[in-house]
Subunit: 221 residues, 2 copies
DNA sequence: CAATAATGTTACAGATCGGTAACATCCGGT
DNA sequence: ACCGGATGTTACCGATCTGTAACATTATTG
């Protein structure tokens, strides 16, 4: 029963892997189930035995994407255990790789654009995923000692989301090229402000202080 | 020859207006030319006499979108003539309205997602538009006395782009909800840093100083 | 009014799409 | 060896899509 290494990969997994690749390359609406099945080395009938409809396959692919994201977050945790600020910098680095290195943006965000119907079943998965990503980021900021952790998480969320979509429309030389500088500056600004506020707190690790922005006053939000 | 008010609107304009509306609501690939023609009160044959193909219609629609953006920028200029910082704040306000008020994001960015083929003719229009928007923003920042105007323009570009796409995937209560606060804080930080740098300069208008971030040092970029 | 351009109507071609039925084949476990 | 479940194969349905042909009608303009 052991889940074999990869050589005898079951059709279901090959279909999902191939579908993700083709959806990403040509868009969800730009590729048909017949092409997916053929490219996955199987046929349409087997595809429909595993996934009742194309929408089901789309949802399965998005859940697979979410699984990959989980693995990346787990990688942060293991690579920089107990150092949330280092994990935050790792998040910036990986985000930059995804944003500028890949010309097709975020699968989840792209799916939200393509599946325009507001009651499409995949929208639940997408919204749940994006909310989860933001919450994880906020938790990380909180653990890193950031006072206004939620605001920093929202700012970084907008920046990474913008970088990935701007990469597609404005190109790799556009605003997304400076994502790392901008994100690091924002993090440094929030961290510095957090340091000033809590003068006697032993938890924070290394400040690194390589930023160019500093938090000032909180208006009222 | 006068361009009539709207009652005898020519089929070409009705088609573009209707196509933009339907493309926005259902996605470009989610609506057919037959539906567009019928909804525009005409027929497919007339549509194909004005636009040789659906791709041509798409391009015409995107150019129309760009025209609307031109009008908005012209509105900034007339509403706050000679006050670039006020124009910048107006840009933030309008951007927030577009981002959180409308659940379907930017037509240009959405088209870039849907038209995945890297050689699609519409991609030229999209990239040109996005580059133009960034350059306009950078020029405005420069006129407002911002020292690192290009970096501020890129930051604001990522933020607005992220807000509009995050609105679709994470919802109106997500990170996009704080776009105004974040954008204003960033602008204030850059403006304050610019004030510190140029102590003897008479050009700048009112600082407003309602931000919570302050620019520190420029690393090397 | 007459001539001409623009638009409407109908029908159709060719392709692709999502999804299903019926039947053949293969492969693993008892 | 056998049997049952998973998979492969082929053919098909109905719908929809982009795009075109041929012809009728209307509107504009001299």
């Amino acid at each position: 029963m052991e889940t074999c290494g990869f050589v005898p990969m079951r059709p279901r997994d090959r279909i999902i892997r191939t579908a993700r690749e083709l959806f990403r390359k040509h868009g969800i609406r730009g590729v048909g189930v017949d092409t997916i099945a053929e490219q996955a080395g199987t046929n349409k009938m087997t595809l429909y035995r595993h996934f009742g409809s194309k929408d089901d396959l789309i949802i399965a692919c998005l859940r697979d994407v979410a699984g990959d994201a989980d693995a990346i977050w787990a990688g942060f945790e293991t690579a920089h255990a107990g150092d949330p600020m280092a994990q935050l910098h790792a998040w910036v680095r990986v985000g930059a790789e995804c944003a500028v290195g890949d010309a097709r943006g975020c699968d989840m965000a792209n799916a939200a654009v393509e599946l325009a119907e507001s009651d499409h079943p995949a929208r639940h998965v997408i919204e749940e995923f994006k909310t989860g990503q933001r919450d994880r980021l906020a938790k990380l900021c909180r653990e890193a000692g950031i006072v206004k952790a939620d605001l920093l998480a929202d700012t970084l969320s907008l920046l990474i989301e913008g970088a990935r979509v701007s990469r597609q429309s404005a190109g790799a030389e556009g605003p997304c090229a400076h994502f790392i500088s901008i994100a690091e500056a924002v993090i440094a600004a929030f961290a510095q402000e957090s340091d000033k506020r809590s003068l006697h707190r032993p938890t924070r690790a290394k400040t690194k202080s390589r930023g160019h922005l500093r938090v000032l006053t909180s208006p009222r939000a």
